[in-house]
Subunit: 334 residues, 2 copies
């Protein structure tokens, strides 16, 4: 791909701050900015609850700040585009919210995020704030199942945050919030397909190249290598393979209940998302899987990357009860 | 732009049918297909209500079928990509829903749609079904205010449908549903900006060309010419001009209440949408305008067109009461 990225921006260095400002305005007061740090928190948190803090690099909007709200995350610490928030951002965002009942960190499994959230956790513990962590590892392309803890976190973050937030709203203590959130992560699997590259505004260059007639199966949300490059083929062939891989990885059985998300990585058409879901539905139905809920849209993007990801979230009775609870944020209202 | 369109599809001729199938599956039974015709209707309509029928060309997903649901449209007649549904599709979709209280057609003002919906209305009237029509004319780029009835319908369809659906849910008769829906259209203004082209799957070619360093202000959702081509500039400059033009056209006064939508035409980043809303908010606030609600996302797309539109919907007490009623469809839950 030889073309240059083309976006309508102001100063590229101001992108994270300006888009956060847009989101804060759009929230109508429901989101509050952490004073002096690129973090946001809910305006309406209860005084005696566990607090769920998420975060990561910017550039994946509406992830992460868009998931701060009732029944989801309570706060989000935000880095520059595709770069982890620093420990001080995480610490100040957490302190702005902490209510004395402990904190659960929920974020995607990337080296930078792991390091910075771990440092923040250590320093917060020193101040007497109890912190537990769930790293989201839903991207099955990144490592085999036997090394699940090496996998990246991608769109599946949303299900893990949904369960964490619902567990908090149900009055679970930190121990139990942590436990059920870890279970939610274990029950979430995602695989993506990319047709075009993404770019970081500050560099003005595409992060990778894909030939005009190529796709990459399993590409990560920052352009991390997937499982295979190949010539463009039919949607049903690729989507069928993705479902096959997801079902096998999570060992879905006939009668299992799942939620499904088809997530636009950025520049794909709604047409492609709907045609992808058609195949997902047919394949799951053919395997006797019960589809409990479906989301199709822009939930975790990668700037202008063309492509999408498919996420399967397997429910049990506890997870379904929590999933069905209401939530209300910029990105997800239920 | 010399590149070829790149999408993950099956047979391009099957796109409208396959994407509709995906949407029907995703609705979990809430949408029902009209037997033998490319139309959909709600599963849960009351037996003695006015019926709101919308429709138009496919390719703008989630418009139109995504707005069929509680408190919005009751049915949608769907054409091929960027082509009006034929009269028989409109007639059969209407007949599948009609409950003896009359029908309101709400659709974007395009020659093909006007002709086909008018023919359908005439034939339905001959069968004793009363039909009234509101053509949405929100695109201020298409003609001056003095020729508002020549303007195209774009993303503003969503507000007009919202009010029509809420009026029906409030028990208004056809006369009053028509009246308040026409008022909603009169209070809706949209302007877009395009950075890249869209393509129809069957042709596999872009509908227009834009140079690498150019944007087009006011482009329509099928690539219709806008008001100006120019070199890329800052987001604030373009967004400021759009707000200025919208406010002037609708004659917004300090103290007026509005809803705002920043709608992705397809391939723009969420980053750009949020940065656009930031400027819209600042400009409206600076003019003393009250912002009642904000939507940012993919509401009326144009395949892979890069760019977005900004819609302002001015409220009065009646419109605000109707706007605040719940709605529940694939594209919009409130």
């Amino acid at each position: 791909m030889s073309r240059k990225p083309k976006k309508l921006l102001n100063n590229p260095n101001d992108v994270p701050a300006e888009q956060l400002e847009g989101l804060l305005y759009a929230s109508g007061g429901k989101l509050i900015k952490v004073d002096g740090y690129s973090g946001v928190y809910r305006h309406d948190i209860a005084n005696d609850q566990v607090v769920v803090v998420t975060g990561g690099g910017s550039g994946h909007e509406p992830m992460f700040a868009g998931y701060v709200g009732q029944g989801l995350a309570d706060a989000a610490a935000l880095g520059e585009i595709f770069a982890s928030p620093s420990p001080d951002i995480i610490i100040e965002t957490t302190k702005a919210m902490h209510k004395g009942k402990g904190v659960l960190f929920v974020y995607g499994n990337y080296a930078g995020d792991n390091m910075n959230f771990d440092i923040a956790a250590e320093l917060l513990e020193e101040e007497g704030i109890q912190v537990k962590t769930v790293r989201v590892t839903d991207d099955i392309s990144a490592a085999p199942l036997s090394k699940m803890s090496d996998r990246r976190g991608v769109a599946g973050d949303m299900y893990v945050l949904k369960i964490a937030g619902a567990a908090v709203a149900s009055g679970y203590d930190l121990e139990r919030v942590h436990e059920v959130t870890a279970k939610a992560n274990f029950n979430t699997r995602t695989m993506g397909v990319a047709l075009g590259a993404c770019s970081i505004p500050q560099t003005g260059k595409f992060n990778f190249e894909l030939a005009e007639d190529e796709l990459e199966l399993g590409m990560g949300i920052h352009g991390e290598p997937g499982v295979r490059r190949q010539k463009l083929t039919s949607a049903d062939e690729i989507n069928g393979e993705i479902v096959e891989r997801l079902c096998e990885d999570i060992e879905l059985q006939s009668g299992d209940r799942v939620c499904v998300t088809v997530n636009n990585l950025g520049a794909s058409t709604y047409t492609e998302l709907l045609i992808a879901y058609r195949k997902v539905h047919q394949e799951l139905q053919g395997r006797g899987i019960q589809i409990h809920d479906v989301l199709i849209g822009n939930y975790c993007t990668s700037q202008e990357m063309a492509g999408y990801s498919i996420t399967i979230f397997r429910l049990d009775d506890e997870l379904q009860g929590l999933y069905d609870m209401p939530c209300d944020s910029f990105a997800w209202r239920k």
